[in-house]
Structures are given as structure tokens and as C-alpha cells.
Symmetry: C2
Subunit: 235 residues, 2 copies
């Protein structure tokens, strides 16, 4: 049993926080009112309280209540007893580091495998992959491992962005970076453009949203897939 | 004694490899013909041989010979006996990981502190800082530590790029990422734009090239410095 939304971003340009996902989230959270929010990724370094307020305001628009994991005495128990989980974006290293430090990786995995709805955006999506070695984030802290939840059998690259051939900046393109990843690692990587998400439903993993995604497999030319493509054989 | 060039990039748009640095490098390498090249950062995952050929071709234009560190039986001895060192760009994690695996951090530090000319570009510059926690690269491998050579008392952000307010992509700007760094770390960070370099000469650290650089200090508003600014008090 798995019930996961792995979203490239929380927000697409010109819309409110999570707004593009509201229709999907109404179905996803269905009759669940209370959502456990994990604010550890701290975008812009904001506090857990401030971040939880943002999530609370966002999900109140579809009538859901949110409680921050940081407000529980025992975060492990809170995860085990959660009816639904939302892990927001920010810095993936900061998020994973905190999960390791608080010893929450196993309980989070088990809770997801029980079928508890898990929504991840950006950093919260990155950690669904086998490792966070395809994050775009700056390594501002050093977690004890880059291995992640592995609830899908590949890596995620959120905020995927195409090569801009007009750029005069010499930094590497996203595609170059992911190709370099495959000199040292063999698992597939999904480049999820902003506005796309993966919906994991038991054995099915489908691309959702209006855009294509880009798939990078070891020793293969990268290729595009269309929305609604089934990805359950990708590993 | 220190004699270091810390360059944002090897190549600026529309010019040949290292070309914008040729005048500076003629003085820098002065009467030294043989340069030890460290190819470990492997841009695009290319081999050490291929990368060394690129450096050889580049530096041949100012009459210098290059030998790749990977061709020496004992890399530690090669570093200790080098007359000059050049560490090229690529992936900073890959570079640092290899230096740790081969146990070369101490000898590299000592050689630089003896005054042996060290040129770094991009990843090769990043490792001159206190840590590589302000790299832009993807963490495709996991070094045993992110602590770097620390031959300057701050961190480097090479390929620094300004906020583009026309972008509709929601990934974090470079400035946002460095501000997040300062929620967890206190050392200053120099955002070095492509075309800029730092010249370290004994106690002096000067910004070179035609551009400004952006300085990020803990708990301070970021600010611009002009070329030729002396940075030896920044720490």
C-alpha cells in the first residue's frame, strides 16, 4: 500500500501556495481533516512555526487543518499516528539531516508503506527517492548519509529546468549535472518540471499535470514522457 | 607564504579555455614551465586523461607544460614536489571526495602554504575555502567531510549569478541559497562572478578582473565590492 504525491514544487509562478494541486489534494486527503506537517526543510531558513503557518494557511483553503511535527513531544509517535503527512520544500540537506538526527527515517518509511497519504513538494519530494544525490540545493549542512526514504525505486530531480541555449553563464545545465550523476550512480532520475507531480498508488506510479517529464537512465539517452505515463517498471 | 589564484570559472563566454587569465598566468607561473594538473573534478564525467589534455592544450598557449596528477605513482609525492599546481573545475564533491580518498588534503595544504603557485578554477576554487558548503554542484558522490583546504578564511561561491527577476522558475536564487547557508554557518562567503578571481599573495587577498563581487557576512546585509578591493580582514 502506498499513496504518495511527489510534486516538483509547492507553487507555480503566479498562483498561490499549493493552489495548482488543490483539486488533486481534495481527493488525496479525502475525508482526512488533520494533516501532520514536517517543516524541517526551512525555506529561507524560516522557523518551524513560521513555515507551519504557511502550510496551515495554504491547506485551510481546502478545509484542512495542519499541525507541525515540531510541536509534538515525541515526533516518532506523531509520525506513526499521523492520518496524513505533508513534507514541504526548502533545503533538502537540512530536511534530511533533521530526519536523521531525530531518528525518523524508519518510522516515516513505515508510515508511508502503510498507505498513509504522503504529500511531498520539492525537498519533500526529493527525499522520496533512493538518495538526495540529485537535489539542486546547496549542501549547507552535512547529513550523516545522502540515502533517502526510497519509497520509489529511482531518484527525483524537482524543479527540473531545460537547457537555456541563450545563457552566457558557464555553470552546468541540469541535464549535464544529471549526466555526471550517472558516471557514479546507476539508478534512473526523473526530472520533474514545475507543475508536474508523480502519483503513487499501490503498484502504480503515474506522471500527472500538463507537462512532460524527462527521464535519465544509466547508459541511455535521456527521453521525454507524457503526462499519465505509467512508470512502475522504471528502476 | 601563499601565492594563489582563485578563479570563478575556467572560461568566460565566447573565449577559449583560460584565455581571459593568460596575462595574469604568465606572471603567476613566471619562470615555471611544468605545472601539475589535478583532474579529479571530472567535468561532464570525462576521464582524467581527457581532462588533462584540455588543460595541456590551454596552457600550451602560454608556453607551459602540464602533467596530470593521475599519471604519478605516488600522488602525495607529486604534490609535495610540484613547482606549480592547477586544479580545474567540474564537480566539487567528486574532486573533494577523491582528495580525501587519496589522503591528499594535508599535502596540498602544506604545498600551498609553502608558496607554490596554486591556480583553482570553479571546483578548484571552491576547495580553497573553509568548506564546500557553498558549492553550486550536485552531490553526486558523498565525501567523508565537506571541510576543504581552508587556505582562505571564508567560503567561495564560484559562478556567482545575480537574481533574475524575470524568471518564472521557482528554484531558489543564489542569494537565497547563501542566506540559508548563514542560518547554519557563520563564515563569510564571496560570490565571485564569472570573469573575477581572487589573488592571494602572502597576507594580501585582492579581487581581480573587471567585475564587482558580492560579499555575504553572517547577520549583515550582502554588499558589493569593487575590483582591487583588499579582503585580508574578511574572516
Amino acid at each position: 500500500m502506498k499513496n504518495i504525491i511527489i510534486a516538483s514544487t509547492s507553487t507555480i509562478h503566479g498562483t498561490a501556495y499549493l493552489e495548482y494541486l488543490f483539486d488533486e489534494l481534495k481527493l488525496f486527503y479525502n475525508d482526512i481533516d488533520d494533516i501532520l506537517f514536517i517543516p524541517y526543510a526551512r525555506p529561507n531558513g524560516i522557523s518551524h512555526d513560521t513555515y507551519t503557518e504557511i502550510a496551515t494557511k495554504g491547506l485551510s483553503k481546502i478545509g484542512r487543518k495542519v499541525k507541525g511535527l515540531h510541536t509534538f513531544q515525541n515526533p516518532e509517535t506523531a509520525i506513526k499516528e499521523a492520518k496524513a503527512i505533508f513534507v514541504g520544500g526548502g533545503n533538502t540537506f537540512v530536511l534530511l539531516n533533521e530526519l536523521y538526527k531525530k531518528n525518523l527515517i524508519t518510522s516515516l518509511k513505515q508510515t508511508i508503506k502503510k498507505g498513509i497519504p504522503y504529500l511531498g513538494t520539492s525537498a519533500g519530494s526529493n527525499i522520496c527517492g533512493l538518495s538526495i544525490k540529485t537535489t539542486n540545493d546547496m549542501p549547507i549542512v552535512f547529513p550523516k548519509s545522502l540515502n533517502a526514504l526510497g519509497v520509489v525505486p529511482f531518484n527525483i530531480n524537482p524543479h527540473y529546468i531545460d537547457v537555456d541555449t541563450t545563457l552566457k553563464h558557464m555553470g552546468e545545465s541540469r541535464e549535464t549535472r544529471i549526466n555526471e550523476f550517472h558516471k557514479f550512480n546507476t539508478q534512473p532520475v526523473i526530472g520533474l518540471r514545475e507543475g508536474s507531480w508523480l502519483k503513487v498508488d499501490d503498484g502504480s506510479i503515474k506522471l500527472k499535470g500538463t507537462l512532460n517529464a524527462r527521464i535519465f537512465e544509466y547508459n541511455k539517452e535521456p527521453y521525454e514522457i507524457e503526462t499519465e505515463t505509467e512508470l512502475n517498471t522504471l528502476k
